[in-house]
């Protein structure tokens, strides 16, 4: 999993970059807030970002606010790294849109645990998004069955989604789990028997 690391201070950035590599992540490093936002806007943007609080051009909380406004279907998981241990600052960071924070100098094991929590959250969101996609597709199909269906008034074939005409049982089988067992209803049985008797008079006996 790619993780964006945004920090203008080289010692801190090198440390986080290396720790992430040790833990099996792919760090993508930038040196200021504007660059961080650009990276998070990109099509293949990292799903998680570790943002320093104080950075040139845009602070970590400002990046968080801008990311919130982007309204991505799966927003990135944002961790603020700060030497501001004041509770009011932490509340401010979380209100800006960060999901978590760590204070400098951080405990390496704590940072790893928090990054792992982020990974689980991202994976859960991706799974939920996939399930929602499947549900939306199923709902679309159900809606289609409820909708207007063109049917031939003579042969009773129906026009399917692809524009081709197909037997009504083929159409229903394709869109549902229904299986058909063929038989005669009482009315059709009467008609069919009458026809057969007319053609082969001995058959009724």
């Amino acid at each position: 999993m790619k993780i964006l690391v945004a920090d203008d201070e080289l010692v801190s950035r090198t440390l986080i970059e290396n720790y992430l590599q040790y833990w099996g992540y792919i760090p993508v490093c930038v040196t200021h807030g504007k660059e961080a936002l650009e990276a998070l806007k990109a099509p293949e943007a990292p799903a998680m970002a570790i943002l320093d609080w104080m950075m040139p051009y845009m602070s970590g909380p400002e990046v968080c606010q801008a990311v919130q406004k982007m309204q991505k279907p799966i927003p990135p998981y944002l961790i603020l790294v700060t030497s501001k241990a004041d509770k009011r600052d932490i509340v401010r960071g979380l209100q800006a849109g960060a999901q978590d924070y760590v204070t400098k100098p951080y405990d390496v094991n704590e940072l790893q645990a928090r990054v792992d929590v982020g990974r689980r959250m991202v994976q859960l969101q991706q799974l939920l998004a996939q399930r929602i996609g499947e549900l939306e597709e199923a709902t679309r199909q159900i809606r289609q069955l409820h909708g207007l269906l063109p049917i031939c008034c003579k042969c009773k074939k129906v026009r399917a989604d692809d524009g081709y005409w197909s037997e009504v049982e083929t159409y229903i089988s394709r869109h549902t789990d229904t299986k058909f067992s063929h038989s005669y209803c009482p009315d059709c049985y009467q008609v069919t028997m009458a026809e057969l008797t007319r053609k082969e008079p001995g058959i009724a006996a």
């Binding site: 203008d8 201070e9 080289l10 010692v11 801190s12 090198t14 440390l15 290396n18 040790y22 320093d52 104080m54 040139p56 030497s83 400098k104 100098p105 405990d107 390496v108």
Partner: protein, 120 residues
């Protein structure tokens, strides 16, 4: 040259955080050694010009790198400068800046000795 004060560095914290990662510790010490004089020069220059914003920002950066390398006392001095600049009074912190510069060179020496030692 005065002997560096070893209490400026929390060795147990440093060894704990870099256990089994001597290469990484040597690498960040090298980065720290290169960037710290530049940051201090920027800080001194901004201080002389009365540029509170640059003093605050640079002191904050120094605070972070000192703290990451176990130099909490020196990080505390950088924090004092940062706070003073935030309330737009960096000019009153000349003594703190001098002490920060003095401690920074000691911390660099201790860290360089550590990087050159075979039992990092």
């Amino acid at each position: 040259m005065d002997a560096a004060n070893p209490t400026l560095l929390d060795m147990s914290d440093l060894r704990g955080r870099f256990a089994g990662r001597a290469d990484l510790l040597r690498r960040v010490i090298k980065i720290f050694d290169e960037q710290t004089p530049q940051l201090l020069a920027r800080l001194r220059h901004a201080f002389r010009r009365g540029d509170a914003q640059t003093v605050e920002f640079t002191a904050h950066t120094l605070k972070g790198s000192f703290a990451q390398l176990g130099a909490q006392i020196t990080a505390g001095l950088a924090s004092q400068l940062e706070e003073a600049a935030r309330v737009s009074a960096p000019g009153r912190s000349e003594a703190v800046l001098k002490e920060l510069e003095a401690q920074a060179s000691q911390v660099r020496r201790i860290l360089n000795d550590l990087a050159n030692s075979p039992d990092v």
